[in-house]
């Protein structure tokens, strides 16, 4: 299959409000394969893009449960089943002493889960992405706000989409080459 010449069209905006507005109109215009870029998290942008709630919290919870339960099992198994020994005449199953490690490892499990869930859900790490081919896109991490309509969107049509974006009054409009 031959690569399409272009990844999408990138519109550059000055302010977050402007971007949110543009995203809303773009979605209204029926575009779906769009992406918004901002130098900081912009309130309302996610809703405007119609991003569904992520799985990160659930995974975190599971991570915590596994960490905690696993630890307590290890403590119990090692000191009651696998290696029972009289230490200071304390009961083999000294549950109060088992609480601190259990708690700590529960937290650890949850934290690891949260971090990696975030990366996975965001498709990171990723070495390269066509969006970086766009001119001045590096400003996305400084002071500019971008909206990109990808070519693979069914409604995408080079001239019409171009005109539509223009109608959003961006500072600049550039193609994103592959």
């Amino acid at each position: 299959m031959t690569q399409p010449a272009q990844y999408g069209l990138l519109a550059e905006f000055r302010s977050a409000e402007h971007l949110v507005e543009a995203v809303k109109r773009t979605r209204a215009a029926g575009y779906r394969d769009i992406a918004a870029y901002s130098p900081f998290p912009v309130e309302g942008l996610a809703d405007a893009l119609g991003i569904k709630r992520t799985c990160v919290p659930l995974v975190t919870l599971l991570g915590g449960l596994i960490g905690g339960a696993g630890t307590y099992f290890m403590l119990w198994y090692s000191s009651v089943i696998n290696y029972p020994i009289n230490s200071g005449a304390r009961p083999l199953h000294s549950w109060p002493a088992f609480v601190p490690p259990t708690f700590e490892l529960a937290v650890l499990g949850a934290a690891l889960a949260a971090f990696f869930a975030f990366l996975f859900a965001s498709g990171l790490p990723r070495l390269h992405h066509p969006i970086f081919n766009a001119r001045d896109f590096d400003l996305a991490s400084r002071n500019r706000f971008f909206l990109c309509i990808e070519c693979r969107d069914p409604h995408f049509d080079d001239s019409r989409t171009h005109d539509f974006l223009r109608s959003l009054d961006p500072m600049r409009l550039v193609p994103v080459p592959w």
Binding site: Y83, I85, N86, S87, G88, A89, R90, P91
Partner: protein
């Protein structure tokens, strides 16, 4: 032990492969020596086969022999592992031991293996050979033989050895002009002179404390330092077990010029300057109805003397007065007379022939020698086993006169001061290396058999004398055997000889009591009473004695009784005397006495008489090994032949400098805590009458206890019996391969002793009550150390032992922090040295610990294991008394009892059922397996000590 407790613990990290090979080399060497000297030891020495039950639990061989101190022998059994003498135990058959030992016997093995021992013959400090020496000596013989021995002088220490005495007498018969001098720095001159004064003939007093109900000690430390003290301590405490039988009690009055363990254990102790004791003796004698005019002023309250006299009189035939070797002859004579008046002769005190073969006045003998040397009359001088250049009164100037002796020979274990200045030095064989014999305090003879061929080709005095007498072909064994053949004779000599060797005592060799009648001696005029001049009292160091043990690291690091000092000696004085002079511990002073000066650090000792200094011998050495020189000060430098024991007229000049001393106990008061208990006799009898209280241990416990189904090991320590001699500490060190750490480490508080003897002072500095408390691991059933160990290195086994798994220990030291008894010891650095000869001494049953590992008392786990193997072979339980811990075995007074708490008949179980039984820091609920019985004081009702 539970199967969980790994006994696969043979961690040789401390003893790497290399050094074990070196050890084998060394053994090879000594075997070679043995064959070289054509000695097939095994056929000659007789192992101690049928072990008394107490010692059964071991696979090594034991040999009975004797070790001597100041000439007096004490029977021992020496454990020989794979041909290496590694541990000394007491000999139950021997009257002076009864199975116990003092610290010196315990340390003997270290001296034996001491790498610093002299290893070669020296001529003028240059390497030479035994044959060269023999040739030289033979050459000299032609000279003195021609002149009937004139110019030939022999200097020995106190000789009790029948063989040596016989050799010397033969020699003197052969060469009538030759002279034999005896001088032992710690000698019996005053004792013998005392008997001569009282009885007109020289006698050896022998005491029987089992029958003494009232004892008065005049400057006599019979619990710690007299000949027979081990036996005396046993007897004295044996007669004093009110906890077991209320009637078994006695009362000890002590008057001492320098603090001793005897004074510490006394029910009534008075501290006086040495010169004052004469006064008290006369005052008492008068109260006992002896016609002496009472001194005008007596330094003790009349009430005290009255009470003492009353007790002595009412205990007719059951009382005892004994006088220390330091006191002048007439005080001894007074005591003998008093004992006779009190009907004690034949009951609590007996008089036998002197144990020394030649009971001469040794100081006089030494005087004659140095005079002869000064006059240039001495052509040949043989110095056998003593070190006169160091250990003789300064005014005799032995060193200077020796230069006038053309042919001087020194036989000694070390290249000591005398060795350096003699023409010839011959390395001596250690007592455990050579054939000899010796007599105990009661005359019992022991044939000393070698445990190993001389490691460094050392010679015994017998061999040297044989050469001197021109009896070439004889070796030690032949000489000794020949003598006893004569003594014991008989056709079954072979059998007698064997039994003597086997039992460690020559049958019926103890002296029998002689009939004596005492008369009142002429008493010299008293010293001026109120003279406040500063007195000096000379005494042997408690651990290095007169200097013979200065190079013995165990004894050097063993905290001295009362002062707890290690590694150095110090001038002891009372805190009051120190305060008057603005002196504190470790301040350096210059002591001036009869124009001689010595610099020494000060140690303020509660209970020391005021205006008196105690100077202890044995330090300030200039030669004699690697650790002997350069520590402490030399007390001999102030000693004069005019007053070798004590004298007035000393002056002390503070120098404003300090000399750091290493004390093993920094704090000396109990701070009102219930640690070492002491009860009055009345309370003891009452509590015993009430019978056993409900066990303290039945208390609410948060968790169910772990059972000890098979054995439950426990220990009971009787503080009343403990005299604080520290034999347990050093026995433990020998048994458990406990390293020596050195002075700087002790100063940091890092000594490693597994069982320490705490010493507390109570009451005023002038008249303190002294408490002793041996503290090993308590083996708590609820051990605080175990809970906090992160790696299960400190765990409990199924027999209630708190075991330390060295291989697992990572050294967090949390266990030590959490041990309220602070009995855990940590290898802060690599303490156990890797020295081949020292490795050879180590107990193969005990792991050598490496740096970074925690260690502590294991209740002699290895002995328990050995007993278990023995018992399992026979398919029975371990019998009571079959496991004896090292500390228990050494203890002269049987203060320590160890055994199985599951056995209702075991001695330890019975001891713990006593209503007096208590545990340390009970409120912490650690449930120790080690418990204590309180000390008992038995004061005279009219006397309330402050």
């Amino acid at each position: 032990m539970s199967p969980r407790q790994p006994r696969r613990e043979f961690d040789f990290s401390g003893v790497p492969e290399r050094s074990r090979r070196e050890f084998l080399k060394l053994m090879g060497a000594s075997i070679a020596l043995a064959s070289g000297c054509s000695r097939e030891l095994p056929e000659r020495i007789v192992p101690y086969e049928d072990m008394p039950e107490q010692l059964a639990a071991t696979k090594s061989l034991y040999f009975a022999t004797a070790l001597s101190l100041d000439g007096y022998g004490s029977g021992v059994l020496v454990e020989s592992a794979m041909g290496r003498p590694i541990k000394v135990e007491g000999n139950p058959n021997h009257p002076a031991s009864l199975g116990a030992t003092d610290v010196f016997s315990q340390a003997a093995v270290l001296t034996l293996w001491d790498p610093d021992r002299s290893q070669t013959v020296l001529r003028q400090g240059v390497l030479s050979t035994w044959d060269a020496f023999r040739a030289a000596l033979t050459a000299r013989r032609s000279r003195f033989a021609s002149q009937g021995g004139a110019g030939l002088h022999i200097l020995t220490g106190s000789v009790t050895s029948p063989t040596l005495a016989a050799q010397l007498h033969r020699l003197l018969d052969k060469y009538p002009e030759a002279r034999w001098h005896q001088y032992q720095p710690i000698n019996r001159d005053n004792v013998y002179a005392g008997t001569r004064l009282a009885f007109g003939e020289t006698r050896e007093p022998r005491y029987d404390f089992t029958r003494a109900r009232t004892v008065l000690s005049l400057d006599a430390d019979f619990l710690r330092s007299m000949p027979g003290h081990v036996r005396y301590a046993r007897d004295f405490n044996g007669a004093r077990r009110p906890g077991e039988t209320p009637s078994a009690n006695n009362r000890l009055y002590a008057i001492e010029s320098s603090p001793t363990l005897t004074g510490a254990k006394a029910d009534h102790c008075r501290r006086l300057r040495a010169s004052q004791i004469d006064r008290v003796a006369r005052a008492l004698a008068q109260r006992l109805g002896i016609a002496v005019e009472s001194p005008t002023s007596v330094p003790i309250e009349a009430g005290w003397l009255d009470a003492c006299a009353f007790d002595l009189l009412t205990r007719h035939g059951e009382s005892l007065i004994l006088v220390g070797e330091r006191q002048p002859a007439h005080v001894h004579a007074l005591a003998h007379l008093a004992n006779e008046r009190l009907g004690n002769v034949g009951t609590t005190v007996q008089y036998t022939n002197p144990v020394l073969a030649e009971p001469i006045d040794q100081l006089d003998s030494l005087r004659q020698l140095s005079a002869a040397m000064a006059a240039g009359e001495v052509q040949e001088l043989l110095i056998l086993g003593v070190n006169p250049l160091y250990a003789t009164p300064a005014d005799l100037e032995f060193a200077r006169h020796l230069q006038r002796v053309p042919f001087s020979v020194h036989l000694g274990l070390y290249r000591d001061e005398t060795a350096m200045r003699s023409l010839w030095h011959i390395p001596a064989a250690h007592e455990l290396e050579a054939w000899s014999d010796t007599r105990a305090y009661d005359g019992s003879a022991t044939i000393q058999q070698p445990l190993i061929a001389p490691l460094y080709g050392g010679r015994s005095p017998h061999e040297v004398l044989a050469v001197l007498a021109g009896e070439f072909e004889q070796d030690g064994h032949a000489i000794v055997r020949a003598l006893w053949q004569g003594e014991l004779g008989g056709d079954d000599f072979e059998h007698t000889w064997k039994t003597s060797l086997h039992n460690g005592v020559v049958p019926d060799s103890a002296f029998t009591a002689e009939q004596v009648t005492a008369r009142l001696p002429a008493l010299p005029p008293l010293r001026d009473a109120d003279s406040s001049e500063l007195e000096i009292v000379f005494s042997p160091d408690p651990h290095v004695h007169d200097g013979v043990y200065t190079n013995n690291a165990w004894l050097r690091e063993l905290p001295k009784p009362l002062t707890e000092l290690t590694w150095d000696n110090a001038v002891l004085m009372s805190p009051e005397s120190g305060r008057r002079r603005g002196l504190a511990n470790e301040d350096v002073v210059e002591i001036e006495y009869r124009g001689r000066r010595v610099r020494a650090p000060v140690w303020l000792l509660p209970g020391h008489p005021d205006e008196s200094l105690t100077l202890q011998f044995g330090y300030g050495r200039t030669a004699g090994g690697r650790i002997a020189p350069g520590a402490g000060f030399n007390a001999y430098a102030l000693q004069t032949s005019a007053a070798p024991s004590f004298d007035g007229g000393a002056r002390v000049h503070p120098l404003g400098t300090r000399y750091p001393l290493a004390s093993a106990q920094m704090h000396n008061r109990m701070e009102g805590r219930d640690l070492a208990r002491m009860l009055p006799l009345s309370a003891v009898i009452q509590r015993t009458a009430q019978g056993a209280q409900p066990s303290k241990h039945e208390r609410k416990l948060l968790y169910p206890p772990f059972a000890s189904p098979t054995y439950a090991w426990g220990m009971s320590i009787n503080l009343d019996a403990c005299v604080g001699c520290k034999a347990c500490t050093i026995a433990c060190q020998a048994e458990n391969n406990i390293p020596v750490v050195g002075k700087d480490q002790v100063q940091r508080g890092r000594e490693m002793h597994w069982i320490r003897v705490d010493r507390y002072f109570e009451g005023s500095d002038a008249h303190p009550r002294v408490h002793f408390q041996p503290v090993p691991c308590m083996h708590c059933e609820r051990a605080p150390c175990e809970v906090v160990c992160p790696v299960e290195a400190s765990v409990h086994d199924s027999e209630g032992l708190n075991v330390q798994v060295y291989n697992r220990c990572v050294g967090t030291r949390f266990c030590s922090n959490n041990c309220p008894y602070k009995v855990r010891r940590f290898n802060f650095l690599q303490y156990s040295q890797d020295v081949p000869s020292l490795n050879a001494q180590r107990n193969p049953d005990v792991t050598v610990r490496m740096r970074g590992v925690m260690e502590k008392c294991s209740y002699c786990l290895q002995r328990i294991a050995a007993a278990k193997i023995a018992s399992e072979k026979e398919g029975r339980r371990i019998r009571d008394g079959e496991v004896v811990t090292a500390c228990q075995a050494a203890c002269p007074t049987e203060a320590i009892v160890f055994g199985d708490l599951n056995d209702p008949a075991s001695r330890v179980r019975i001891a713990k059922t006593s209503p007096l039984d208590y545990v340390l820091l009970e409120e912490l609920n650690t449930l120790p397996r080690t418990s204590y019985l309180p000390a008992v004081e038995n004061p005279h009702p009219d006397l309330q000590e402050t």
